[in-house]
Symmetry: C2
Subunit: 367 residues, 2 copies
């Protein structure tokens, strides 16, 4: 049975979801809303959607499924509008926001006692690019796609949504909305607060310590990379996930007090344990594991800093699928100035090591 899916927001997320739906359900009709003209045009040109509108209300009554892939504030606003509009009976509504409790609570409030099914969604992938031109059918591949059921969700709702989105090749996971916000508060929202705070601190320190500007190197760069994220999105995230983030800030201050106490009393054994525990825990996290969010098989090659050295290595590895490639170039205490190649499989990693070792006299490390 074919379906009509209405996607509001044809940016990176909405556009990529549209492409994923088309992949497994080429017969489904996809309607799209976007305020800006450019992404509407690109979405039509790329065949992501069958029809587009700049009037959100226009297509809502035709939809079996409505996906709100717009910023959090607008998602909340559209939900209020939907509650007032004529919809198909048992329409399935979902979203794509980075926080979930505020959205689920809004749904349970405005959609109560209506023939509306609602489940919250958080596809955990993204980009610093935006717009329909950046949409990619593989954007979510192997990513977690969190579903947060509401009182307006039943088990059929979940399986229907998972079937609709099967072409995204994601890993569906169900979580309570509040739990989702607490966990992402810990691993994503609070770290953004930390990174920006560190950046502002270093910025102020420059005024009296000019070399701060110059001596920040690899570790500092890694720690502050996310401080360059788009401020609007993160402001909305903080605004809709206050309590968990405030609680993490408060907990973190206590941790800073503890380590400060160890430093002040020169308790080197406990400081050693502090660093060692951090190292151990990180190794246990999924960020380290094969088949996890980011599964990595790295090879380090000690190439000279010369033209065409990378090309030479790439030629040796012709036909091998690379996930990432990076020259660790600058002044850093924790990484060597070498070419780092990341493979999708361990087999490729080991085979490549052999190939490079045979063809060159460069040092090759697996780590």
């Amino acid at each position: 049975m074919t379906k009509t899916v209405y996607i509001a927001g044809l940016g990176l997320i909405g556009g990529s979801i549209a492409l994923g739906i088309k992949r497994d359900h080429p017969d489904y009709q996809i309607l799209g809303y976007n305020r800006g003209e450019k992404s509407r045009r690109v979405a039509m040109e790329r065949g992501m959607v069958d029809e587009v509108t700049d009037d959100f209300a226009a297509f809502v009554s035709q939809a079996d499924v409505i996906i709100l892939a717009v910023p959090i504030k607008q998602t909340l606003d559209f939900m209020e509008q939907l509650a007032q509009l004529p919809l198909k009976p048992d329409v399935l509504i979902t979203d794509a926001g980075s926080t979930k409790l505020a959205i689920v609570e809004k749904a349970e409030e405005v959609f109560a006692n209506k023939a509306i099914r609602f489940v919250g969604s958080h596809p955990m992938a993204g980009s610093h690019k935006s717009g329909a031109h950046a949409a990619d059918v593989n954007l979510f591949e192997n990513a977690y796609y969190i579903l947060t059921p509401s009182r307006l969700t039943n088990s059929e709702t979940i399986s229907e949504l998972e079937d609709l989105l099967s072409g995204l090749h994601v890993r569906f996971t169900q979580m309570d909305a509040a739990e989702h916000d607490q966990v992402t508060g810990q691993v994503s929202h609070f770290p953004h607060v930390l990174a920006s705070s560190l950046m502002l601190q270093a910025g102020d320190y420059r005024d009296s310590h000019a070399m701060t500007q110059h001596l920040a190197a690899g570790g500092f760069r890694d720690m502050t990379r996310i401080a360059e994220s788009e401020p609007g999105m993160w402001t909305s995230i903080l605004a809709t996930n206050k309590e968990p983030i405030l609680e993490r800030i408060s907990d973190f201050k206590k941790r800073l007090d503890q380590i400060a106490d160890l430093i002040a009393t020169n308790n080197q054994e406990a400081i050693w344990d502090f660093f060692d525990q951090g190292r151990q825990i990180r190794k246990e996290m999924e960020i380290h594991k094969r088949g996890g969010v980011d599964s990595f098989f790295d090879l380090y090659v000690n190439i000279p800093d010369e033209e065409d050295e990378i090309l030479k290595i790439m030629e040796l590895l012709r036909g091998t699928s690379l996930m990432n490639l990076r020259i660790n170039e600058e002044n850093r205490e924790d990484i060597h100035g070498i070419l780092q190649i990341t493979f999708k499989t361990q087999a490729d990693q080991l085979r490549s090591k052999e190939i490079i070792e045979k063809a060159t006299d460069y040092q090759v490390f697996i780590d």
Copy 2:
């Protein structure tokens, strides 16, 4: 005039320094000390040193220059030993430690009123590898090599040391030892405390929120990468740079209070400014620049995720000197899946953009 240089510690740092000295001064005699047998053997095999010993005192009296490339604690201990040993008049002693004030103060104490010249050194590069087998003549290329003069330093000392180390191709910079420790406290030591604290916090959070283990992704990974550093080295750094780090912890807690207040009062405008300022400041830092003067010159190419696509681009750019090359691959909220190429010059960047646009139909961004 030939010289005899004695390097204590033939690990990554000492070994790389030895190779750098040999590059520009092949006639100098290099003597090496290392406690462990393996690095002694490798150092001899690789021709880094002319003679080795496992008895620190053995070669000190022959040396014109003594370089202590051992952990901070051992550096302090060797300095005390040197003060008691027969040395050549006007011997030049230096080190390679990550903190400087404790070492300079020790030198001024134990070498006072002796015919000894001392200057502190901090070569700002390193590796997650260690040992003589990882030593590399290019390890320090273009890195800052901080020299911290002491009361036992004169201008001739500095130029003599810079001449000795010319083959390392570093950027020598002179700084006051206390100022060095404050700046590195801000950009390196305190960030390590932050990263490990975040790691321990997330580790504890797992106990009551199991998905913490799984949902940590790109941003969290970047922020905690340095939490995997070797605990011993960082324990010594904290122990020898207490005050600056404690002061930064205290300052940071105030910053957390401020942002917590903005979140609690839902001051979205000020939160937006907080994130925006962090973003602005990061763009001004040298981590964004090349050589402290020129910018990095990045090009983003929207390549398909297919084998040999990178090779194809590399072939187009044959003969161009690349600084870095990276595929922004994974599921993350802040980066898109495209090839990022960093050039040393703007001319290369612009020329490469033209070449790729002519030869392919990929989107190419400068950003």
